[in-house]
C-alpha cells in the first residue's frame, strides 16, 4: 500500500508530542503521530492486589529496573524494561534514565508539579555569566504558559515573585496548615517564601497528553496515531537538505516501515530524541548534539525532623500540610559559594522513615507510634549547571531489542551542585531547629543524575548555529523542516519542574510551524 505524505510527522505522544499534535491539527495540518509503546486501557492494565499476593511481598524482583528508584513491585511493568532498551555508563558515574513507552508517555504518571521558568533561567548568563542565555525571554513565553495552564488546570497561589512567575491559576484559597505557617514565618527572615505547590488538576484521573491533548487533536479528523512504532532513523534527502520521514519498526512484529512527511517533529522525550538524531547522523554541524545534559538534583527527605507539638497525635490531622519554597539564592548576583539556586518542598504531619530512627525492635516500634503523624520532611530540588562535559553519545557496541544502537552516558555532578546541596540542608535544618523541631536526618547526598526524570538539554536552542542545535523556534539550524520540541531543547533548567515549559515551547514551535507552512516557507 503506497503511503501518503503527511504535513507533519510527530515522533512521541507525551507532553511535547501531544501538544504538537493538539496545536498543529487545530491549525489544519494533517499529522501522523508515532508512539513507541502501546495504547493502554488503564482499567484492564491495572488491578487491585494485596501486597502479600505479589511474588516478592512487594519488595520487588531483585535486579529488575536497578536504575529506576521509583519502581516497586506494583508498578514495575509501567517502566521501560532496561533489558529491552539498555544504555551504558561508567559504573562509577551511574545515570538513572527513567522511561515510559505508552500512549501519553510520562505525562500519564508525572507528579503534576507545574511551575514557570523566569528570566533568572531564560537570561541566566546575564545574572551570573555562566553558560548561555536562552534565545527567548520570559515575556515571549508568558502567553504560551497562560494557555497551557488553562488546558492543564493548574492550581496555585499568586505570590508576585519574579523568580517564580504567577500563572493562569485555578486559585488555591486553602489555608496553610499551622505548621507550614510557622515554617513560613521562620523562613521569611532568610528571604524565603512558602507558597502552595502549583499542581495540574487535569480532568478526571489524569493530567496527561492522553486525556487533555490527543482527544481534541483526534476530533479534528487530522490526526493518525500509530502505536508500537519504534523510530529507528530519520530519513534525510542530502540533495535537498530536508528530512523526508522516519524509518520505524513495528514493536510487535519486527516489520520495518517508512513514513513520509513534509515536516518532522521530534518529541520522543529528551534523550530518546537526541538518540534518534545521533543515530540518524543529522542536525549536528555544531557538534553540540548530545552535550549540556542537565536536570535537577534531588535529595528526597534531605531533611527530616520530629515536631514536638504534634507528638502522640496531639494535633491530629491538623498537623498535616505541604508547601513549596522557590529559589531564594543568588537573586542579585552571587551571594553564595555556588551560582544559581534550589527549590524545596515541605511536608508536615507525616511519619518519618523508620531508617531515620536510631532504634530497633520494640523500642523502634514505640518511637514510631509516638511520632506517627508528627514528622517533617523536605525534598530538595537543585539546579544543575549545563556543562559541555556532561553528555550522551551513541554506544555502537550495544543495541536494543530492535537492533538500534543505545546511548552511553558521561555525566556527573560537580562542586556547584554539592555546595548547593550542603547549603540547602543547612538552611532547612536551621529553620527546623529555630522552631524547636528535632532534626532526625540531614542528608546532603543526592541521587544519581537522572533520578528527577527531568533530563534536559543535549539538543539545545540558541541564536548561534555554532553553539546550538536549534533556533528560537525549536527548529534545526541545519535542516529547516526538522523541529525538536521536548526537554532536549532546554538551555538551562532552573530548579523548577520542567513540564509546563516543555508544553509551552512545543505549543509555540507548533504555532510557528503552522504559520510557516501556511506561507509555504516549510
Amino acid at each position: 500500500m503506497a503511503s501518503k505524505t503527511y504535513d507533519v510527522l510527530i515522533i512521541g505522544s507525551g507532553a511535547s508530542g501531544g501538544m504538537a499534535a493538539h496545536t498543529l491539527t487545530k491549525k489544519g495540518a494533517e499529522c501522523l503521530l508515532l508512539e513507541a509503546g502501546p495504547q493502554v486501557d488503564f482499567n484492564r492494565a491495572r488491578s487491585l492486589k494485596n501486597v502479600y499476593d505479589l511474588p516478592y511481598r512487594g519488595m520487588g524482583k531483585p535486579g529488575r529496573l536497578s536504575h529506576v528508584f521509583q519502581a516497586d513491585e506494583f508498578n514495575a511493568n509501567q517502566w521501560v524494561d532496561e533489558a529491552q532498551v539498555p544504555y551504558t555508563h561508567d559504573p562509577a558515574n551511574p545515570y538513572n534514565w527513567v522511561r515510559v513507552r505508552m500512549l501519553g508517555g510520562k505525562s500519564n504518571f508525572w507528579a503534576r508539579m507545574s511551575f514557570r521558568l523566569s528570566d533568572y533561567e531564560f537570561k541566566a548568563k546575564d545574572v551570573d555569566g555562566f553558560g548561555e542565555n536562552w534565545p527567548v525571554s520570559y515575556a515571549e513565553m508568558a502567553p504560551y504558559y497562560d494557555v497551557v495552564e488553562g488546558i492543564f488546570r493548574v492550581m496555585g497561589r499568586k505570590e508576585g515573585l519574579k523568580q517564580l512567575p504567577d500563572g493562569n491559576f485555578v486559585e488555591d484559597r486553602s489555608p496553610d496548615g499551622p505548621l507550614i505557617t510557622r515554617f513560613g514565618q521562620a523562613s521569611k527572615k532568610l528571604g524565603m517564601t512558602v507558597t502552595k505547590i502549583r499542581r495540574a488538576l487535569g480532568q478526571g484521573p489524569l493530567a496527561s497528553s492522553l486525556n487533555l491533548l490527543l482527544p481534541g487533536a483526534m476530533e479534528t479528523g487530522k490526526l493518525t496515531i500509530v502505536p508500537n512504532a519504534v523510530a529507528r532513523e530519520i530519513s534525510y534527502d542530502k540533495s535537498g537538505g530536508r528530512v523526508t520521514g522516519v524509518h520505524f519498526v513495528d514493536k510487535r512484529t519486527g516489520r520495518e516501515m517508512h513514513a513520509k512527511a513534509r515536516v518532522v517533529v521530534v518529541a520522543a522525550s529528551c534523550l530518546e530524541s537526541t538518540r534518534l538524531l545521533l543515530n540518524s547522523n543529522i542536525a549536528n554541524s555544531s557538534g553540540v548534539l548530545g552535550r549540556y545534559l542537565h536536570d535537577q538534583f534531588y535529595i528526597v527527605r534531605g531533611v527530616a525532623a520530629l515536631i514536638p507539638e504534634a507528638k502522640g497525635g496531639k494535633m491530629g490531622r491538623g498537623a498535616a500540610g505541604s508547601g513549596y519554597v522557590p529559589r531564594a539564592q543568588n537573586l542579585n548576583g552571587k551571594d553564595k559559594k555556588y551560582i544559581r539556586g534550589y527549590c524545596f518542598d515541605l511536608n508536615t504531619g507525616n511519619t518519618p522513615d523508620t531508617r531515620f530512627f536510631p532504634y530497633f525492635g520494640e523500642e523502634l516500634e514505640q518511637k514510631i507510634d509516638e511520632w506517627r503523624g508528627a514528622g517533617f520532611s523536605s525534598t530538595i530540588m537543585g539546579e544543575v549547571l549545563p556543562r559541555y562535559e556532561n553528555h550522551v553519545r551513541i554506544d555502537k557496541t550495544v543495541k536494543d531489542a530492535w537492533g538500534i544502537p543505545v546511548l552511553n552516558f558521561q555525566c556527573k555532578y560537580t562542586d556547584n551542585e554539592f555546595e548547593m546541596a550542603k547549603d540547602a540542608v543547612e538552611t532547612i535544618s536551621g529553620v527546623c531547629q529555630e522552631l524547636g523541631w528535632e532534626v532526625l536526618n540531614r542528608n546532603t547526598k543526592m541521587f544519581p543524575p537522572g533520578y528527577s526524570i527531568h533530563e534536559l538539554g543535549t539538543c539545545r536552542m540558541g541564536d548561534n548555529p555554532k553553539t546550538s542545535v536549534l533556533n528560537k523556534w525549536n527548529q534545526s539550524h541545519d535542516i529547516k523542516n526538522l523541529f525538536v520540541v521536548d526537554g532536549s531543547s532546554f538551555v538551562t533548567g532552573g530548579g523548577q519542574n520542567p513540564t509546563m515549559t516543555i508544553l509551552a515551547l512545543s505549543m509555540r514551535a507548533s504555532e510557528y510551524m503552522a504559520e510557516q507552512m501556511n506561507k509555504k516557507e516549510l
Binding site: 491495572r46 487491585l48 519488595m59 511493568n77 509501567q78 505508552m102 536510631p358 542528608n443
Partner: protein, 168 residues
Amino acid sequence: MQTSQTMEIQKLDMAVGEDAAEAAAPRFFSAAQFATLQKLGGILTPARNGLPGALEAQAAEFLDFLIGQSPADRKQVYTKGLDALQAASVKKFGKGFAQLEQAQAATLLSPLRQAWTYEPPADPLARFLWAAKTDVRNATMQSKPYITAGGGGARRQGATGLYWHELD
C-alpha cells in the same frame, strides 16, 4: 456460525504458594547463617500488639529466597554481615548468635543506634544490620500473616495497591 458474546465466567479465589505450603529448607544461606538471621529477625521485628513478628511471618525464610535471587553485592552484604555477627557473638559470649539471650544479642547491634546516612557504613556488620533492619521489617509487615491479623503493611500506601500487568 459462532457469534460474538460476552463470556461470563466466575472468578475463582486463588491462594498463593505460601498459603498452602512450607518454604523449602534454606537454599542460599548456610544453616548457621540462617539460624543467625532468624534470631536477628525476632529481635528486629518482634511480635507485638497481637500482630505477628518476623518469626511468625517467616521473614528469614522469605529473605533466603529474596537474597538468593539478588545481585552479588547484595548477597555479600548478607553473607559477610551474618558471618561477622556470628563471629562477634562467639568472640564476646563464646557461643553462636542464635544461642544468645535477647539482652546479650542486643549488645551486638549497636550500629543500629547510629544516625542514618545515605552512604551505608563501610563496616560489613553495620552495613548488614542497616539493610536487615529495613528488609526484615518489610518482609514481616508485607506478609499475609501480618496483614490478615490487622496490620496495615509497611508500604506507605498500605497493604494494597494497583498492580500493573505486563503491557501488550
